[in-house]
């Protein structure tokens, strides 16, 4: 269970949002919406423990995530808005490395619809294919998925495939938080608009 209470986030000199609280149980999806620069990515980075909140707490399974960040991160997959790929490696290389790095079980299928191009170096792939390669991170059994703009650059089959992956993960008891500018039709999905938590014209200094 992920519990966020009274979270506030700074970016530069300004306060992005404050007073943000929510709770997500197993099998729930949260869709973050809000205009550009409102702090969706910043919230995801806070939730992944990469940055510290200005105030407030993030709890995972009843424990503050900063108590033992390394252990918390083992339940976590963070997909950055830009696919974290090396241009000289092919998708198969990435899958192979990530399996070892993140401790995925052996023999998990890494089918993200790349077909024949899965042994081509990333620099030869299109942006949609790169996006699909980054979904190889989602092959493990880690519970919490934080996906930053995962639908960008995907074709309609790609969107379909990702929605299926998310639904499958949800049914397996996973928790998914994602940002996207397209409307999503998913069961058990809450939409959170960050606009309600923004303090306009509020500048700390």
């Amino acid at each position: 269970m992920l519990k966020v209470s009274d979270l506030a986030c700074m970016r530069g000199e300004g306060c992005l949002f404050s007073g943000l609280s929510f709770e997500l149980k197993e099998g729930q999806v949260m869709h973050l919406v809000g205009s550009n620069g409102i702090g969706k990515s910043s919230l995801l980075r806070l939730l992944a423990g990469f940055s510290n909140p200005l105030s407030g707490d993030i709890e995972w399974q009843g424990e503050n995530i900063h108590q033992d960040l390394t252990r918390y991160r083992q339940d976590l997959v963070f997909l950055p808005d830009q696919a974290p790929l090396k241009k000289q490696l092919c998708p198969d290389d990435h899958l192979n490395f990530w399996q070892r790095l993140l401790g995925f079980k052996d023999g998990v299928s890494g089918d993200v619809g790349l077909g024949k191009v899965s042994d081509l170096p990333t620099k030869m792939l299109s942006s949609g294919q790169r996006r699909r390669s980054s979904f190889l991170l989602l092959t493990g059994t880690r519970k919490l998925w934080l996906l930053d703009e995962p639908f960008v650059g995907l074709d309609s089959q790609g969107v379909e495939m990702l929605l299926e992956k998310i639904e499958q993960h949800r049914q397996d008891g996973g928790i998914i938080i994602l940002t996207s500018h397209i409307a999503l039709d998913m069961p058990n999905c809450t939409v959170l608009s960050l606009t309600e938590f923004t303090l306009t014209q509020f500048v700390v200094s």
């Binding site: 980075r45 992944a48 990469f50 940055s51 510290n52 390394t70 991160r73 083992q74 976590l76 997959v77 963070f78 950055p80 830009q82 696919a83 974290p84 790929l85 090396k86 000289q88 490696l89 290389d93 490395f97 990530w98 070892r100 790095l101 993140l102 401790g103 170096p121 991170l137």
Partner: protein, 222 residues
């Protein structure tokens, strides 16, 4: 431990698929050292006298040249965040990456040193100490330089910043590294200088690892 080796194998694979950076360091070392006999004149005694200093300074500059490529690619493409999701503490991830950096700079430089030594007519007896001091000293340079490389992440003129942060830390290692070969050339005992270099490298191990991990956490937090 499997994760540690997985990172090392991954880094070696990255270099094998794109050996350009490695070739740059190797050719920089060879070309720069070969300029000195042309510039100062081919007088054997003089060349043999200044050889340890020139080899060491050029090796130091080669390391400096390679440092911006240590963390910047991972930072720019988001791989650093993925590395941080692993069960391995960040300090050990840093150790794995620095180990590979050392392997891919110190080893080529150590292999090329005999060749350069011939060019400078360096006394063959000083050669093992020269190579040994380079292998040891470059480890310290990699460790300390890694802090500078991580601190410069996200800065606009990162390359210059890496040099400015790292050079002051490199000076003690340069001084004792050169004095090992110098003493051997003058037939003086060089154990003392060698032990001091070893102590500096041992000191650089925790400082480099903890400092880099701290700088990396700082870099991803904004």
């Amino acid at each position: 431990m499997t994760i540690f080796w997985a990172i090392i194998r991954h880094e070696l694979k990255l270099t094998a698929r794109q050996p350009g950076d490695l070739l740059l360091i190797v050719s920089f070392f060879l070309l720069t050292t070969s300029l000195f006999p042309l510039a100062v004149g081919a007088e054997p005694n003089l060349l043999a006298r200044i050889a340890p200093g020139i080899i060491w300074v050029t090796a130091l500059l080669s390391v400096l040249l390679s440092l911006p490529r240590l963390w910047e690619p991972d930072y720019n493409d988001g791989s650093i965040e993925i590395l941080m999701l692993s069960a391995l503490p960040l300090e050990l991830i840093v150790l794995a990456k620095v180990l590979v950096h050392w392997l891919l700079t110190a080893l080529p430089l150590a292999l090329l040193t005999p060749l350069v030594a011939v060019m400078f007519q360096l006394d063959i007896q000083a050669l093992p100490l020269m190579v040994g001091s380079l292998l040891l000293g470059v480890a310290a340079l990699s460790l300390l330089g890694s802090i500078g490389a991580a601190l410069a992440l996200g800065a606009r003129s990162g390359t210059v910043l890496v040099a400015l942060i790292s050079l002051p830390l490199f000076i003690p290692i340069l001084i004792f590294g050169v004095s090992i070969a110098d003493m051997a050339l003058m037939s003086l005992p060089s154990e003392g200088a060698f032990l001091i270099l070893a102590a500096l490298t041992l000191f650089a191990l925790p400082v480099g690892i903890l400092g880099t991990a701290w700088a990396l956490r700082l870099a991803v937090s904004n």
